[in-house]
């Protein structure tokens, strides 16, 4: 030990510290060294703010060199990719090599995208390049036909709340997935709630905002303001709705998730919020002494 110290070889960690990855990407993740590009300045910033960091940082493009009859079809790299027929009397498919690159830099170098389970992505069509382009052209339309569930608009308290205090709103909309067949290919779609516009029924709205809101414990109702709460100023019955904008991705036969360039806006059926007012009064008797005293159970409710 003394000899080591004299040589100055003292690393800053304990002798039995466990191994870590030496991969640069892993090291950055371990210490949460993350940046987003500030949309105004274009400069990387560590202030991640409200940016949904679940968004895919990659862009993808297909490489058709291994398609049947294509330039590389007889090379080893292509021959090992099998696309067996999907039906007993069907044709073999063409393997597609998907390439990926980060979206954040201009003119990046693309490298091979690895399918999750190692199976190649295939296209089953006489014209594989055309079928991919044809799917891309119609996918927004197909996306907008999906039975996407808009969720419900919830309010606390409900169905009766009070004017002058924050009524908390939130949506139960969630991400959903669908598996459909388009032009003979197996398409996996995701629909993700991205933005919400809250219509409170009294002429005011909130949004569009990515805030989906969240339920509060009962003890905090009408006292705690949230990003999605609203205070009604007049008593009455208000039909409230929420419009959610869904974004989506699609993947073709086990390929990577490609962005769908457009959204689907869905609005929930109206839910009626009954807004009452509170009254305060000084009372001389307790309800035990005088059951008919103001505000006691069984007496007229206040509106």
């Amino acid at each position: 030990m003394a000899a080591t110290a004299a040589l100055g070889c003292s690393p800053g960690f304990a002798d039995d510290e466990p191994r870590v990855s030496i991969g640069k990407h892993d090291t950055a993740l371990d210490i949460n060294a993350k940046f987003i590009i500030d949309p105004v300045t274009g400069i990387p910033s560590t202030n991640l703010g409200m940016t949904p960091t679940t968004e895919d940082p990659y862009q993808y493009k297909p490489d058709f060199r291994c398609t049947l009859g294509g330039p590389g079809a007889r090379e080893m790299g292509c021959l090992t990719l099998e696309c067996p027929p999907t039906t007993p009397d069907g044709e073999k498919g063409s393997p597609v090599i998907w390439l990926k690159a980060p979206k954040a830099v201009t003119n990046p170098t693309f490298t091979d995208w690895q399918p999750v389970d190692g199976k190649p992505a295939c296209l089953y069509d006489a014209e594989p390049q055309n079928v991919l382009a044809d799917i891309a052209a119609r996918i927004l339309n197909d996306f907008r036909q999906l039975p996407i569930n808009p969720g419900n608009l919830q309010a606390q308290p409900f169905p009766h709340t009070l004017k002058g205090g924050p009524t908390n709103f939130y949506t139960t909309a969630t991400e959903q997935t669908f598996d459909v067949t388009i032009l003979g290919q197996a398409i996996h779609l995701t629909a993700t709630p991205a933005n919400h516009t809250y219509t409170f029924g009294d002429g005011t709205t909130l949004g569009p905002t990515p805030a989906a809101g969240y339920p509060l414990p009962e003890a905090e109702w009408l006292t705690t303001e949230t990003r999605t709460s609203h205070s009604y100023t007049q008593t009455g019955n208000y039909p409230a709705t929420i419009t959610t904008s869904f974004t989506g991705t699609y993947s073709v036969n086990n390929g990577p998730p490609l962005p769908i360039n457009g959204t689907l806006d869905l609005t929930t059926p109206a839910t009626t919020i009954h807004v009452w007012k509170t009254q305060r009064a000084l009372v001389a008797d307790t309800c035990q002494q005088n059951p008919n005293s103001w505000g006691c159970p069984g007496t007229e409710p206040t509106h």
């Binding site: 690393p11 800053g12 960690f13 510290e17 191994r19 870590v20 990855s21 030496i22 991969g23 640069k24 990407h25 892993d26 090291t27 950055a28 993740l29 371990d30 210490i31 060294a33 993350k34 940046f35 987003i36 590009i37 274009g42 400069i43 990387p44 560590t46 991640l48 940016t51 949904p52 960091t53 968004e55 940082p57 990926k100 690159a101 980060p102 979206k103 954040a104 830099v105 201009t106 003119n107 990046p108 170098t109 693309f110 490298t111 690895q114």
Partner: protein, 138 residues
């Protein structure tokens, strides 16, 4: 270090960043952090973490195979008058295999990566130093 990489300019920073990633590739492949440490502020959280990742993988006779880093794209976002400048970099790293002193596999291999990173560098004295670095996630 190439002469251009010592210049306090957009072209100088671009050359410096390419050089800096090359020194970290060298450190990853050999365990020698010498050149990289000269160009990095290792008192920062990210600097210290990158240093430790290399040290932990070269102590007790450990070694690695692979892990070469290349940077096909370096985009310097030069802002006149600022001492600390920013850049976006595409970083490719080859897959990595880990070995202990006896030649046995030390831990699960790391697959190859293709990512975008942000680099912040400050011009101090007459040279650049990297003061922050991490993944661009959005």
């Amino acid at each position: 270090m190439p002469e251009l990489a010592k210049e306090n300019s957009k072209a100088g920073l671009e050359a410096f960043i390419g050089y800096w990633y090359a020194t970290y590739s060298y450190a990853t492949e050999t365990g020698d952090l010498g050149p990289w440490s000269q160009s990095t502020d290792v008192t920062t959280v990210s600097g210290a973490a990158y240093k430790k990742a290399v040290e932990l993988n070269y102590t007790k006779g450990r070694w690695v195979v692979g892990g070469r880093i290349t940077t096909p794209v370096i985009e310097v976002l030069w802002q006149e008058g600022l001492n600390t400048q920013s850049a976006k970099v595409q970083v490719l790293q080859e897959q990595i295999l880990y070995f202990d002193a006896d030649g046995s596999s030390g831990q699960q291999g790391t697959p190859e990566f293709n990512t975008a990173e942000a680099v912040k560098a400050t011009y101090r004295g007459n040279s650049w130093q990297v003061t922050d670095n991490g993944l661009i996630v959005g």
